[in-house]
């Protein structure tokens, strides 16, 4: 079996690499590009810990082949902050104590960010819908929802 040559556009940087066609985007980004912020909780599309943006839309990256993502705009959790300056959603998660073990958090922040980009003024129900593809076993979601609600202020401004 031979590897395919692809160019991945990750966080606005073009990365050239050789990958086997059966490798997922998640594994490729974590193992080849060493961007380990996206987590692998299930590898079945269920937990949302691996959420990245493909052309601006949140997707579970374990459900995508790396070869299939070539040529598309990929954003990972590492792409949200500006150096050490956290994004509004990241900052709000810290300030509202929405992080416990942290494993699910990159995915939840990606889902929260995607929601607020589209809808800067969501209801609690809309927030819960937007994160329904993310599983957290620690927080009970309440503080996560509060954090996203708080971050909304800096989007609707």
């Amino acid at each position: 079996m031979k590897k395919n040559f692809i160019i991945l556009n990750v966080n606005e940087e073009e990365r050239e690499l050789y990958v086997y066609p059966h490798r997922s985007l998640l594994d490729t980004v974590r193992d080849e590009l060493q961007l380990t912020g996206s987590k692998k909780g299930c590898d079945e599309g269920d937990c949302g810990a691996c959420t990245m943006f493909l052309d601006g839309n949140p997707v579970t990256s374990c459900m995508v082949l790396a070869v299939d993502a070539a040529g598309r705009r990929i954003t990972t959790i590492e792409g949200l902050s500006n150096g050490t300056k956290l994004s509004p959603v990241q900052q709000a998660f810290v300030e509202h104590g929405a992080v416990q073990c942290g494993f699910c958090i990159p995915g939840l922040i990606m889902s929260g960010t995607a929601l607020l980009t589209r809808n800067p003024n969501p209801t609690e129900e809309e927030i819960r819908m937007a994160i329904s593809g993310n599983i957290c076993r620690c927080t009970g979601y309440t503080k996560v929802v509060e954090a996203i609600q708080a971050a909304a202020a800096s989007y609707s401004r």
């Binding site: 459900m63 082949l65 070869v67 329904s132």
Partner: protein, 306 residues
């Protein structure tokens, strides 16, 4: 995941010839949300994978008065759900998308992938069946158009021949005085496989209030998604009194042949077919009777799903 060779054909003709050449060793990759799970489980072991997403003109989403709605093979749920025209004229279609997975899955998965996968528990297909959707199929011997339910051959099996690719779903504009609903019943409201799914589409004669057309499609309670034709026959031509609705509900339950599994025993599913057919049909009837606009219908449908 087992290794495979990967193709990104630029045309339907090339994709089809690859599928013919590699036969049972080849598999189409669309949104990949069933593909990735099945291939990782070694349930599917394709040696050749044909990604159809690079084929130009397969991601269309168009509406016209004459042709109705056309959903291209690679148009994702996310795109269809957000489309203003779909929301305005085919509210049930966007509502049925919301029944599938979570946001991330809907940004990858497609209606046509759901139909081709031929799972009896598919959540977007009952709506399509009840709406009378057709699918257009490209193949080595030209194109053909069939009712969507003729795609289903059995659990996880479709009727496509070697080299055939579904290119679009076609939906006529529903007549006025029509109400629609899809009810998904599952232990968790989101991100779970249906235990029972019922889509009901009711059209009334505005002059006498009688039901002129009724289509009921059931999911997760037989080897394929199917129409409850006996129930439909009871409704059609009748005044939809409580008694008529109850008789239709019993008929639908009789027509179902669910299996029991970890999610729910067979008897429970059968009972719920009756309960939910009655409920869905009552909703659709009320919507049709009140002349409720499509957006309002959609809001209620989403409320019932989530």
């Amino acid at each position: 995941m087992l290794p495979f060779e990967y193709f990104e054909p630029a045309t339907l003709r090339r994709a089809s010839s690859l599928l013919v050449k590699y036969g049972a060793d080849a598999r189409i990759l669309n949104g990949g949300t069933d593909f990735m799970v099945r291939v990782r489980q070694h349930f599917w072991k394709p040696k050749y994978v044909v990604n159809i997403k690079k084929i130009k003109g397969l991601d269309h989403l168009t509406y016209s008065k004459n042709q109705g709605l056309r959903i291209g093979a690679t148009a994702t749920y996310g795109r269809v759900e957000a489309d203003p025209v779909v929301r305005q004229r085919f509210g049930i279609v966007s509502a049925s998308a919301v029944a599938v997975g979570g946001v991330q899955i809907r940004n990858l998965g497609t209606y046509i992938g759901n139909a081709c996968n031929a799972s009896p528990a598919a959540d977007s297909t009952p709506t399509m069946v009840a709406m009378g959707a057709k699918v257009k199929i490209y193949g080595p011997n030209g194109a053909r158009v069939i009712p969507i339910e003729e795609l289903f051959a059995g659990v996880g099996r479709n009727t496509l021949q070697a080299g055939e690719i579904v290119t679009e779903i076609q939906l006529d504009t529903p007549p006025p005085n029509t109400g629609f609903i899809y009810i998904k019943h599952s232990p968790r409201s989101q991100m779970d496989i249906s235990v029972v799914g019922v889509a009901s589409v009711i059209t009334l004669n505005p002059d006498n209030g009688r039901c002129v057309d009724a289509r009921i499609a059931l999911g997760a309670v037989g080897p394929t998604v199917f129409r409850a034709k006996k129930a439909e026959a009871i409704l059609k031509g009748s005044e939809l009194t409580g008694d008529v609705l109850s008789r239709a509900a019993i008929a639908a339950a009789d027509e179902s042949s669910p299996i029991g599994d970890v999610r729910a025993p067979a008897e429970y599913r059968k009972d719920m077919v009756g309960v939910l057919t009655r409920r869905a049909t009552a909703y659709a009837f009320d919507m049709a009777k009140s002349g409720m606009d499509v957006r309002k219908q959609q809001a209620i449908a989403i409320e019932l799903i989530t």
